[in-house]
Point group: C2
């Protein structure tokens, strides 16, 4: 099954270049390694309408999952749940389960001496105010719970922005859901380090190898600034069968290496 | 003027989590420092329809500029210009100026001994085959030229994917165009290192400071995993007048610091 996902990252800090989007990178790698495809990553700012548009457009493309990061915290600029509620044409409502998660977490913070006392302030209630029908997902690494929702056959998961929290909620609550879709599929990859042949001379060779190895995706990544042309050739495939995946990639690499050597290039395996 | 831009990054390597999207980060920072706003960043794979959809949707939102990265090279998977041509409802055609740029570049490579000889192969002609009406932009750091096009009042710039090439074409050919739009606007920012007050207790303070300082955007970035609550408070503004910008941010920081101390928090300036 070619199940695809979309990732939507929310945060002005990403649009002003303050923060490098390591969340998108981490999620893309993790989702790919589960044998699923990320089809699009969208970054929008802390704006209800921008978030709502991005979610609405993604829903129309009918991915199996939409995963958002960021914007779940207690401050005014945490607007993801308002944006999602707008896209899902529903309201926000306090969620009893989410409130319980928050109370437990803050009580622990008091016990640990991290904060002096705990009151359920409006800013804290905000983190437990979810799009109606949404379910909170435990956040083992912070306060704001993640959120799961379903809309028009699309699963939506809202993850917090701080990387440790995003990763903890993803691994704890989202991976089990994704495994149900991917079955036993896994992603396999390998790379060749190619020298002394320019990318433009490699192009027809890649075409041939791609044609002869239809399940292997091959992409060249030129290394700029080297005196002698040098590039990484990356091979990848997704399969439920590890032996078959390795054979596929092995066949493509053998054919590619022979063709490169025939054209006077140098080639050796590369760690990915 | 609230001139906004969109960035579209093309490349399967970004969607499988092989490559961290430092291009988007670099562009966002650079564009912001020119006093302009990036409203959305979209990442799509090496697929003509995906690229065309992303470009078409961006054009409909009427940014002043759409900047794409990646997919300009000689190999089969370099599909950005096909995707853009499709979105712009035009054809691809060999461009004389782009062909000249390529010939000059490859002749230099032969002179430098980087490649043995030069022929104008189909793979090389591909890099000079632009959407009709497009203009090539010199690439001082590599072979594939950038491309400039206009469509429905929107300026489009296609940049190569390798970071050195992307940066060189942007700085050489795009910055002068963006300066015409931004005038003398510049982006200013400063941060406070705040401790011993949880983000949820800070929320109402930030609300108040934002209300009293309407031109300063304030955002809190919690640091996870610290024993005592700790976060970065980031202040930013855009202005044509440096003194005014500094005053705006200074006022917001003074007010914020006083309010934090009143609530028992600790605060000091932070290098950004």
């Amino acid at each position: 099954m070619d199940a695809h996902l979309e990732v939507i990252c929310v945060g002005n800090e990403l649009l002003i270049g303050k923060t490098l989007n390591t969340n998108a990178h981490w999620l893309a790698k993790r989702i790919t390694s589960l044998g699923l495809n990320v089809r699009r990553i969208t970054v929008v700012g802390d704006d209800v309408d921008e978030i709502a548009s991005a979610v609405d457009e993604a829903v129309q493309r009918k991915p199996c999952f939409i995963i958002t990061t960021g914007g779940l915290g207690p401050t005014f600029d945490d607007k993801t749940l308002s944006g999602v509620a707008k896209a899902l044409q529903t309201q926000l409502a306090e969620d009893v389960e989410a409130l319980e998660m928050l109370k437990k977490r803050y009580k622990r913070y008091v016990e640990e001496g991290r904060i002096a006392k705990f009151e359920m302030t409006p800013a804290r209630v905000k983190m437990a105010t979810l799009p109606k029908g949404g379910k909170p997902l435990p956040n083992p690494a912070g306060t704001a719970p993640g959120v799961f929702a379903e809309y028009q056959g699309v699963n939506l998961v809202m993850l917090p922005g701080p990387p440790e929290e995003m990763e903890a909620v993803f691994d704890g609550s989202v991976v089990p859901l994704l495994r149900k879709i991917s079955g036993d599929s896994t992603f396999y990859e390998a790379s060749l380090d190619v020298r002394a042949i320019p990318e433009s001379d490699l192009a027809p060779i890649i075409d041939q190898v791609m044609q002869d190895n239809p399940y292997v995706y091959t992409k060249s990544h030129p290394q700029v600034g080297e005196k002698i042309p040098r590039l990484e050739l990356h091979f990848s495939t997704t399969s439920k069968d590890a032996a078959e995946a390795r054979q596929r990639i092995g066949r493509a690499i053998v054919q590619m290496s022979e063709l490169i050597k025939e054209r006077g290039g140098e080639v050796k395996p590369m760690k990915t």
